[in-house]
Symmetry: C2
Subunit: 387 residues, 2 copies
């Protein structure tokens, strides 16, 4: 652990590498999707797997607990402990995780589980019966062949709904347009959002036609949430990465580079001018191995580089990583800047979820565009760790 | 955090995903390199950045503290706290890290720093003078154009050595054949080991010819350490991944699949037979985004799959990952096995350092080849975290 003293005050102070959140940008990103959801007439259930921070989450719903989505039971438990009582665990349920689910339900937390098979519905129903509590369950719907879920026209859908309903466990349907991460135009993303909506609404309609009540019709991904033009029939919107955004989202055109709220502060530790390299102490341990922009028209390596105040260093890209070393190179004929050993820089990540996961918390600044050479640190926000 | 009870006894018990170390295999891997180092007549300074575990480290030197290499000052501090007093911090030093270095030196720990420029030598010398302690420093030598360091024939090498020597800080030279990770035959790795040795010995020779004493001549990487046939002139050998090995090392031919001592236990959470997919709860959060075998002749995706006892499931590969989802597919015409929801599997990683870094510790088993369907858990070994 770094030995940050109470006197630490700016990004020049903590030992590098460390993660930084620009709270101004995060608030702006959060307000943007909140306004969209309001216009679309749906409630917003942010996915807290990106930041995994109770402090960041306090910005999501105006300071009070509100609906959230989680990717682990550790998140569910941490958020429940902080007063969040309306949580969706959006990873397919398996039997061994049900005791922790039941324990949260008994504490009064509405924790919804996700499933897409009769096999799962049977053990959820059995756990509900054995525990004497309803286990609210959502049926995962596959809108784009991306991962799990039943297609909305799957023959077994009504029977699955029936098993859940008979056990008092049917809450609704949920889908996620994972394929929208490859939608490069606003039009493609709008189409993906319509497909996502149509899949969820069609599935809900089939269940209702079978006489089964469907309370929740949940859709969302960061690209589709920012593109949807009509969510008729949908009750809630989910998104996660939108709080920080990242180079993948900027590459899609969902945000601007000036919206990116997460970065990693690194220090120059060496030069190899004969190779055109600047070496830093920020390797894949600090950035993750995520290379999400490798498949995009503009590959951003392991990240774009800014100075400590957040201003992009033109043409400077982190192009290679080992565990605790990063290699910066210049592209497009840009000159390699003269950065003495000890110079601090910030690296904007490919994928906020993956880079954030390499850290145990965030130093928080509130003025990414400030002219101060080293922005003041306002707070430290710990992350929820583990599973 | 998982709610493992004191009654947890086998790999069937902790909530998934979690990391497992097979202590039998680790001991065998450790003994193998120890025997090589003894035959080669050099001391062994394992790189503890792979496991970052004091418990695993206790196997490295027969139960007592011995020489180690670290990648972070957090590791240096944790190992110093456990009685390790002979440590090399093998990442280029920058000024802000010197106070923690000096603090360890004052506690009686011989902590060597690494550098490759007059700029760094000047501030190391100044810190030593200001603190009234010698700061032992090694000059990084570049043997293969892989990352940092001076070429052994660099004109500035003697002057750099002189600055360190005059400050009482010159310890020796260090090189790392990072390019050996692309050496696919034993002959290529033997050549890489010779180049690594020759670079270090030549650099030491130039310093000595300038009248400068060189105590340490340090070389090593897991591939070259297992291939070196003559280390005349070298004083110590470093390697890290060798304690666990991984699919990258197996793909090079440095080890067999049956040597891999690290895996991740995951649970089946869904099926998409129409796509040929089995879904698990082990995504990149559990495996890392490392795709080190993507550049090898046999791409192993995110990992090969075994049953809970460690026996490979023929043809089953983890081919895709999202944050908390893994996708398993069959290859080479293998049939997709029938694995009900709730089935536990183990995934062998591409890159042990990166996968281990996604976890806070290891459940330890001691019988990877046991016929027991769920091997007993013998211990839990925490990792050193942060920087």
């Amino acid at each position: 652990m770094s030995t940050d003293s109470p006197a630490v005050r700016t990004l020049a102070d903590p030992d590098t590498p460390f993660a930084v959140v620009d709270a101004d940008r995060a608030r702006r990103n959060i307000a943007r999707l909140r306004a969209r959801a309001d216009r679309l007439g749906v409630s917003l259930r942010p996915h807290v797997k990106t930041a995994k921070s109770l402090d960041l989450a306090a910005l999501l719903h105006g300071g009070a607990p509100g609906p959230v989505t989680v990717s682990t039971l550790a998140e569910a438990e941490a958020f429940a402990g902080a007063g969040y009582d309306d949580i969706t665990y959006a990873v397919g349920i398996e039997p061994r995780k049900l005791p922790r689910v039941v324990a949260l339900l008994r504490r009064g937390v509405t924790l919804r589980v996700l499933l897409d098979s009769i096999e799962q519905a049977a053990f959820v129903a059995e756990a509900a019966r054995a525990a004497g509590v309803a286990v609210p369950a959502q049926i995962e719907i596959d809108c784009d062949g991306h991962r799990g879920g039943l297609r909305p026209d799957a023959p077994e859908l009504p029977a699955l709904g029936r098993v859940l309903h008979d056990a008092g466990c049917l809450d609704g349907v949920l889908t996620h347009a994972g394929a929208s991460y490859a939608a490069y135009t606003a039009g493609e993303r709008r189409e993906a959002a319509r497909d996502e909506r149509d899949a969820a609404v069609a599935a809900a309609g089939r269940l209702r036609a079978a006489g089964l009540p469907v309370a929740t019709v949940s859709v969302g991904s960061t690209p589709t949430a920012h593109a949807a033009d009509d969510l008729t029939g949908v009750t809630e919107l989910r998104a996660g990465t939108y709080v920080f955004f990242d180079l993948v989202m900027a590459g899609l055109g969902v945000c601007a580079l000036s919206d990116l709220a997460l970065s990693v502060v690194v220090t120059v530790i060496g030069h190899r001018p004969e190779h055109g390299w600047i070496l830093t102490d920020g390797g894949w341990m600090a950035m993750s191995r995520d290379r999400g922009t490798a498949a995009q028209p503009q590959d951003q390596g392991y990240g774009l580089v800014t100075d400590l105040s957040g201003t992009l260093v033109p043409g400077l890209v982190m192009t290679a990583a080992s565990q605790e070393h990063g290699t910066l190179t210049a592209r497009d004929g840009a000159a390699l800047p003269e950065l003495p050993i000890g110079t601090r820089l910030r690296v904007l990540p490919n994928h906020a979820c993956a880079t954030a996961a390499q850290h145990h918390g965030y130093h928080v600044v509130d003025n990414a565009r400030a002219t101060a050479s080293a922005p003041a640190i306002e707070a430290y926000w710990p992350r929820v760790l583990g599973w």
